[in-house]
Symmetry: C2
Subunit: 232 residues, 2 copies
């Protein structure tokens, strides 16, 4: 029953984003073979039909094999396809967007991948610039009404660190009052284990960070609440 | 440079939705061959690498060939892939969601396709039930913060008709006041050509519908504003 005419090649590309030096950055490597030899490109690879259980499994395998990174957050972005995006012929790229906290970058072997500021991209191979642009737009839009930035946080964090993550994603400062009212954060009389926000995601710990004068409370993310929140 | 190992089959499936008899409905047909012979299924087809300029072009060609419908609105939903979704082997289905106003249905030859209530679906072939569920969720979520329902309207319409479309998508009634405040609609002192809503999408015409007592003004959609609105 298999179709006899040519089918397109299917690959998975990943726009892997992190926050580094206050900037939203994407992982790129220089291609060592044609097509687009020496061009900068996203990590990507073909589906292995004997091995991969799903497109998400392909994306995770490719990321781990090529970059050494296991992303904290991974979702499908959009599928790009057409006769002209790759000189080898009609091709389909199932594009994904992944987020990884900066703290986890140094633990992994980055290998040949380096991180580039998404707002100051060099020229990229294939339609990879378009993929990065769409991924960044998605992350910035979702950040404004969802808990997505929490996936970029370390295990525990202060509310000021959380605010900084939001500011870095959007590339602009926000007042502490605006930030806290947008997320419905109230810190008065918080006890360890209490949620600080309306969505029950930011859980107060009994640990504090900083000097003796005004130590800042550390928070953890309630992953169950995080998963429950619809991202769409 | 082409990979020598097997590549997955790539097809495009379309969840074509309309409003009919007050219900959100999806186009299905009974398959006339294996696999899943006699099961109800979405319209779908393979990419024709010599013919299709993009995945969207594939979706439009398949819809027109199989159902006779040219959708008013079409977007990618998500790409489904894995070894088990089709007995013929590892397959990838680039799923799309399409909307068509009910008024345009009778004009086209529906052929073997019939429309089924999305909230009371029969058993479907492959992972098509999952695709319908995700498409309906997408449409309902987007309807709440976007202009997506406008794509289901006839050329001109009353504000009551627009409200009915929203109610049918969500499957629940809403008060006129709530509806109008949610869309920022103000009708006082409207002149033909004026926008009735904050997003400048609902443009007043000089035509009215209904009896002599309280005729209702007809509106048209400003398609430029509609396109400008980000859907993401």
């Amino acid at each position: 029953m298999k179709q006899s005419y040519t089918t397109p090649d299917v690959s998975v590309d990943i726009v892997l984003l992190t926050l580094d030096e206050g900037l939203l950055k994407v992982a790129l490597h220089q291609r060592d073979r044609a097509p687009a030899k020496h061009s900068l490109a996203l990590p990507g690879g073909y589906v292995h039909v004997g091995e991969d259980a799903s497109l998400e499994a392909t994306a995770k395998r490719v990321l781990l094999e090529k970059t050494g990174f296991a992303p904290r957050y991974l979702e499908q972005l959009r599928t790009f396809g057409g006769p002209a995006r790759d000189p080898r012929g009609w091709s389909v790229a199932v594009s994904h967007v992944a987020l990884i906290p900066h703290a986890e970058l140094s633990a992994a072997g980055a290998g040949v991948f380096q991180f580039y500021d998404v707002d100051d991209l060099p020229e990229l191979a294939f339609d990879h610039a378009e993929q990065v642009e769409e991924a960044v737009q998605r992350v910035r839009n979702k950040a404004s009404y969802s808990t997505l930035p929490c996936w970029l946080l370390p295990e525990s964090f202060t509310l000021t660190q959380l605010q900084t993550i939001y500011e870095q994603i959007f590339g602009e400062a926000v007042s502490r009052g605006t930030f806290r009212s947008r997320l419905g954060i109230k810190v008065a009389e918080l006890q360890p284990g209490d949620a600080a926000d309306e969505a029950d995601i930011l859980i107060a710990t009994d640990e504090f960070q900083g000097g003796n004068q005004r130590p800042a409370r550390l928070f953890k993310v309630n992953r169950l609440s995080l998963f429950k929140r619809a991202f769409w």
